[in-house]
């Protein structure tokens, strides 16, 4: 058995198989093991990725003559060797059956919802129009961290959160409020390491102030139930609720130094 997979052809088959499993199931089921939300990718995207992998493999095996010959040898043998008659017949039957199944899969009527892809954290604008005035976001820190009493800001933020955010984002800040089931996509979980823990406070300010309607197109603004809180809250109320969220969920905001290193 071992020797079947040691040649370039065998390796290619293994690589294709592993890539398929990772793309089809890995993307959906591995991140949740680490507490990160995920879901299956649509078939069209899967196909694109698989084609990319296949092209990669072809580039690799055609890299030099010997490799190419080694790659072809088992194929060639399967087609001509009298001793491999059985393999030959099996292939001639199996491949068409597989093709038939794939065709059936693509033409049969399905009642699935169309895929909806969106970027969870689209790039923020450098400045926004906040309540009618222009506001710089790049490099901005939460101003409440340097004035007044932290405890008072926290308490004020808690009031703002419980009166406004709680029905969706929930008391545990895990996106499981009693209204959460009404929305698709569901409310973000701030306990999740993939949300506020990854973002600067000024990014969060933008998302809170402008809500779903303020998202760029790649964020699917038409589906997001997140209100534009600039219509309800003052600037200080927004900064205080942001401060509360980090504190209550036990996360540190991303700093501008970290942000800079990545670019």
């Amino acid at each position: 058995m071992r020797k079947h997979f040691s040649g370039p052809l065998g390796k290619s088959v293994v690589i294709l198989g592993v890539a398929y499993l990772l793309l089809e199931f890995g993307i959906a089921y591995i991140p949740p093991l680490f507490g990160v939300d995920s879901g299956p990718i649509p078939d069209s995207v899967l196909l694109q990725y698989m084609v990319t992998v296949a092209i990669g493999i072809l580039l690799w095996v055609s890299f030099n003559e010997t490799l190419w010959e080694e790659f072809k040898a088992p194929l060639h043998a399967a087609m001509v060797e009298p001793r491999q008659r059985r393999t030959r017949v099996a292939l001639i039957v199996l491949v068409p059956v597989l093709v038939g199944l794939m065709t059936f899969n693509s033409v049969r009527p399905s009642i699935a919802a169309p895929p909806s892809l969106r970027s969870i954290h689209p790039a923020p604008p450098g400045q926004i129009d906040f309540q009618g005035r222009s506001m710089e976001l790049a490099g901005v820190e939460n101003p409440l961290r340097s004035v007044g009493s932290p405890e008072e800001h926290y308490l004020e933020g808690r009031r703002v959160y419980y009166q406004n955010c709680l029905p969706c984002h929930g008391d545990g800040l895990a996106g499981r409020g009693h209204y959460a089931q009404g929305f698709n996509p569901g409310p973000a979980s701030f306990q999740d390491v993939g949300t506020i823990a990854q973002l600067t406070e000024s990014y969060v300010f933008w998302r809170v102030a402008k809500g779903g309607p303020g998202l760029p197109n790649e964020g699917a603004p038409w589906n997001s139930a997140m209100p534009a809180w600039e219509d309800f809250l003052t600037e200080d109320e927004i900064w205080s609720v942001i401060l509360f969220m980090y504190e209550q969920a036990g996360h540190e905001p991303r700093t501008w130094e970290e942000e800079g290193e990545e670019h």
């Binding site: 038939g100 009166q163 029905p167 008391d171 545990g172 209204y179 009404g182 698709n184």
Partner: protein, 520 residues
């Protein structure tokens, strides 16, 4: 950054005189946990007046009264520690009270249980109340359920819960809890919203203990007086359980409009037999809390949708629980109370006039290209929506359009959609019928086989709902079933044939070449 609560906790521990018992340590942990996670609703002093209390109904419990809904003890008795722990772990479904099972540690929960009791002078510290002996469920059968139904009538559950259990009994409009807030008689067809749990054991326990603090009485007295046997009470519990679906409805994104077979009649009324063949899809609705004025006390918490078409016309049946046909003078008191107590007060006062019940079904005005859709809240300037509007005080449905909240406009002429609605036993059933294609270019054409975005808005006028204050859903999809195309039967065999022939051909070619090279 320091956790201020933690700092306070550490400080207070440090300041505590040495040699004090574990109880006080517990109380500290209890207080810190309570202040951090519970106080904004239940109030720092446990009196149910946290800053968020006005944004929910039922209101957060006032712990100073020591009145608990879900207990295993007799009505009027205090709950056991176990009962309080259960309330903290499971929360109260159907209310804002969250489940804390995986948020708090075991030690924090235990400490909370002790801390909650300190709010009320009714709790003695040394004795634990005695739970009732509740026994285990009797078997269930058609006869048991029929027996339960008989008892349901005999002991007058219907007075509050209504004949079919949808919370529409004759006293429903006047029910108050012990703190003077209006309270709805539970809708027994939605057991997933029962405060104390959805199973038959939970229902039986609620019947034995009553829900103290609410008008829901206990029926242990009826047993003790010998008016009813324990078996009969279990039968009531089985009957109540049978009013709700076997399984809590999952959320499915697609409503399939069934294609009728040749010659079958399209249902245009709610009482048509044909609907029974079709499985309903449940779509949860929640309060509109996205634009002003917001509404935190929605009555309609979900709709059931069925659809069918015959290639020319489509019918969509929407049904939902609503205790009455608004406006109804019997409910005017309820309505004025609800509108008076709900925060935030963002609506102009004139919006508390008599209002009908309403339903709006929303579609995009044109089928979207790619993944883009209109904003789910009545569209936007670039992507308008197409609406069907039904109101309980009007016999017709209107078609309309909107390009954002507040821009709805409805046509008075050339209506292509017809409607039939009926209210009975605490339920609205409304059927819309429309040709798949119309001559009006502002109407969406219903094309078979395409997932058409669809969403819902609902209002209960006598619950103080109108305008932006009502409930809504996000986008779902309506898919009109297509006749199975011949493609499905033909394409796979053809593909197989081609693949087979190609394989065969290649193998022959290679073999031939091999022979030739061998010979030469």
């Amino acid at each position: 950054m320091a956790i201020w609560g933690g700092v306070a906790f550490a400080l207070s521990l440090a300041m505590m005189p040495l040699g004090l018992g574990a109880l006080q340590e517990d109380e500290q942990l209890g207080k810190v946990t309570y202040d951090r996670w519970c106080s904004e609703c239940h109030g720092v002093d446990g009196d149910g007046t946290g800053s968020a209390a006005g944004y929910m109904l039922p209101r957060p419990r006032d712990f100073t009264l020591a009145m608990y809904n879900i207990r295993t003890t007799a009505s009027g008795d205090l709950p056991t520690d176990q009962d309080l722990l259960r309330a903290i772990n499971m929360g109260a479904p159907g209310t804002a009270m969250p489940a804390w099972d995986d948020v708090l540690t075991e030690a924090e929960k235990q400490a909370l249980v002790q801390y909650l009791k300190t709010f009320s002078r009714f709790f003695p510290l040394d004795e634990n109340p005695v739970p009732l002996v509740l026994g285990s469920p009797t078997g269930v059968s058609e006869e048991v359920i029929a027996e339960g139904r008989g008892q349901y009538e005999a002991i007058e559950c219907w007075k509050c819960h209504g004949d079919q259990g949808r919370g529409d009994g004759e006293s429903a409009a006047t029910l108050m809890d012990d703190t003077g807030f209006p309270i709805a008689a539970a809708d027994l067809t939605e057991n997933w919203f029962f405060n104390g749990g959805a199973d038959v054991e939970d229902i039986y326990r609620a019947l034995r203990t009553g829900l103290d603090g609410s008008p829901m009485p206990n029926f242990s007295d009826v047993l003790n007086a010998g008016v009813m046997t324990d078996e009969e009470l279990w039968a009531v519990a089985h009957y109540v359980r049978s009013l709700a679906p076997e399984d809590t409805p999952g959320i499915s994104e697609v409503v399939l409009a069934k294609l009728l077979t040749e010659g079958a009649e399209l249902a245009t009324s709610f009482d048509d037999q044909a609907w029974e063949e079709i499985e309903g899809t449940y779509i949860p609705l929640v309060g509109q809390i996205i634009v002003k004025p917001r509404w935190f006390d929605p009555r309609v918490d979900g709709v059931w949708v069925k659809a069918m078409h015959n290639g020319d016309d489509i019918s969509v049946l929407v049904s939902w629980s609503d205790p009455n046909n608004s406006p109804d003078p019997l409910w005017s008191d309820w309505k004025s109370q609800v509108t008076r107590i709900m925060e935030p007060r963002e609506a102009a006062d004139n919006e508390i006039d008599a209002a009908p019940d309403q339903l709006v079904v929303q579609f995009p005005m044109q089928m979207p290209e790619g993944m883009e859709r209109p904003y789910f809240l009545k569209g936007d300037s670039r992507r308008p929506v197409y609406l069907w509007e039904w109101k309980s005080d009007r016999q017709t449905a209107l078609e309309g359009e909107a390009r954002g909240v507040g821009t709805e406009s409805f046509q008075d002429e050339g209506q292509d959609v017809s409607v039939k609605g009926m209210h009975s036993d605490g339920q609205w059933q409304v059927v819309f019928t429309r040709p798949l294609l119309t001559s009006d270019e502002n109407d969406l054409d219903f094309i078979t086989g395409e997932a058409i975005p669809m969403s819902f808005f609902a209002w209960d006028g006598d619950n103080g709902e109108s305008g932006n204050q009502g409930s809504l859903s996000s986008w779902y999809f309506l898919l009109l079933e297509e006749p199975t195309s011949t493609k499905v039967y033909v394409a796979p065999p053809i593909a197989m044939l081609i693949a087979g022939a190609l394989g065969f051909f290649i193998v022959r070619r290679v073999q031939k070449r091999e022979m030739e090279s061998f010979r030469s």
